[in-house]
Amino acid sequence: MISYLIFFLIICGIYGIMTLGLNLQWGYTGLFNIGVAGFWAVGAYTSAILTKPPAPEHLGGFNLPFIVGLLAAAVVSGVIAFLIGIPTLRLREDYLAIATIGIAEIIRLIVKNEEWLTNGVRGISGIPKPFKSLFGNSYNLFYLILVMIALGIIYFIIQRGIKSPWGRVLRAIREDEEVARAAGKDVFRYRLESLVLGSMIMGVGGAIYAHFTSFISPEAFKPMQGTFLVWVMLIIGGSGNSLGALLGTLITWSIWSGTEILTSFLPSTITTQAAAFRVILIGVLLEVVLLTRPEGILGEDPHVSSVLKE
């Protein structure tokens, strides 16, 4: 029971990191990023490739420590976000959404096809768990603490950022882009910074995930599902609100895991059907929230919600 709870909280925490990253991009800056799963994958694969011992199936053998893997995940995600942002951030928000789907798709295709890099659909296994030898049986507990520390640091960074002059400009841009521009702010630059920072956070989340599960593959990310879950988490909890993002993560993950437990009692022949049913459930939940309380449980910054209610 306890071990399940620890496992639950670890994954929940990782999703929390993803949601915080998305909240920065969407909640505070109004960037509609459907490529969440893409950055997750980038972070996970970057860290995996850099930290593994040599393996013939894919690029690797760098054997670098965990912390380097994490940092590299952040940097590579950030660079890719930067490259994506340059052409797309000037687009209207719904065009940006479509563009990010395309990018997530391209990342997925690259991961699937460039076998020399990623071992394709067979995935990368044996990703080293940091400090595994030190903790033996209570390793998961250690990992949970690791995740919570990472989550805490990221939360702290975001909150400081939001309350800073930089953050205020971000919110001004979200509220009224024209006014912000008239006030002389380089809207594009702020948006790019938010995109990059948010993506870096997502990359870190992906890396932490990779080192926990020890195995990643294109299927593990189930792109639409992963992205969709994070979006639901953010909307349920309240976008534009970091605490709301975390609350939403907890609630959504509880429902998702809870239903998984329930359906695990069903015969295995209908496992895929059961999984499908659970996705429908989350989908319906999203629609209900959008129809009844689009600002989410913890409401929002009044600034942000006025944009939603227009």
């Binding site: 509609f32 459907i34 719904d94 065009y95 479509i98 563009a99 391209i106 429908i280 989908g283 959008l290």
Partner: protein, 287 residues
């Protein structure tokens, strides 16, 4: 040379399917001002409804085709009335998110009922026909071309000769003026959903005829659908037709230089270029 022509031929067939899907997407985008991310999965729904009628209920293909189109239209209107109608005044992003939710619900519903495995309308294998110049087509592909042309003509007549079709074009031009003119905008919106759903269901069935059925078949085409819509110009059904053909042919021709698995990337690149250079598309006005 033969390869080139063959690729173009394949591309035209694919282009027909994309075009049919995009016409509805473009009209809906122009009138409702949001990109319906569930459009691909409506395509899948149409295909599976046809499967239900033809394979499971044993009806002839033409009947299954028509019934599937109508049933998909019915579902589309229901979804609009229950979900999108209440969100009409919301930011287009909220509608987009809602449509993503609908997409997932539809796709998983299909998987729930029919399972994740491939399905076929017909077990047989068709012998290709030689068209000359070394190009080969399957009889089914000719069917796809014929059906597409017929539907396109139907759409054209509908938009230019019927009151509802003209009202759709009017609303796409200027929603506020349409209200002032006395057009019953909600009624026109319903009809737009019907038209869009009928076309995309047809596209799905044709795709199923050409290849096979999979729960993700429509979703996999969503990017090309949006690419065709944007290429042609949002709100322009004729632009979507053109866009669909361009995307289809480009994707097939691209295999001459890049690995086939990256085909969807081609659609995306074309779309991105269009957005950066001329967002109104080849035949559209600004939205």
């Amino acid at each position: 040379m033969v390869l080139l022509l063959q690729l173009i031929s394949n591309g035209i067939i694919l282009g027909c399917i994309i075009a049919l899907g995009s016409i509805g997407l473009s009209l809906l985008y122009g009138i409702l001002k949001f990109g319906n991310f569930a459009h691909g999965d409506m395509m899948t729904l149409g295909a599976y409804f046809a499967f239900l009628f033809k394979v499971q209920l044993g009806m002839p293909m033409w009947a299954a085709f028509v019934l599937a189109m109508l049933l998909t239209a019915f579902v589309a209107v229901i979804v609009d009335q229950v979900i999108y109608k209440s969100l009409r005044k919301s930011d287009s992003i909220i509608l987009l998110i809602a449509s993503v939710g609908i997409a997932l619900i539809l796709r998983n519903f299909i998987q729930l009922i029919w399972g994740p495995q491939n399905h076929f309308y017909d077990k047989g294998i068709q012998m290709p026909i030689q068209l000359g110049l070394g190009v080969r087509v399957k009889p089914n592909q000719i069917l796809i071309l014929v059906v597409t042309v017929a539907l396109v003509i139907f759409v054209h007549l509908f938009l230019t000769k019927t009151k509802m079709g003209k009202a759709m074009r009017a609303m796409s031009d200027n929603m506020d003026l349409a209200k002032v003119t006395g057009i019953n905008t909600e009624q026109v919106i319903k009809w737009t959903w019907v038209l869009g759903a009928v076309l995309t269901a047809a596209a799905g069935i044709l795709l199923g005829i050409d290849t096979h059925l999979l729960p993700s078949m429509g979703w996999n085409l969503l990017l090309p659908l949006f690419a065709a819509t944007i290429l042609g110009g949002i709100g322009s059904p004729y632009g979507a037709m053109l866009g669909g053909l361009v995307i289809g042919v480009s994707q097939e021709l691209s295999t001459l230089v890049i690995p086939p698995t990256y085909k969807p990337g081609v659609a995306f690149l074309i779309m991105l270029l269009m957005l950066l250079i001329k967002p109104t598309g080849l035949m559209g006005r600004s939205v």
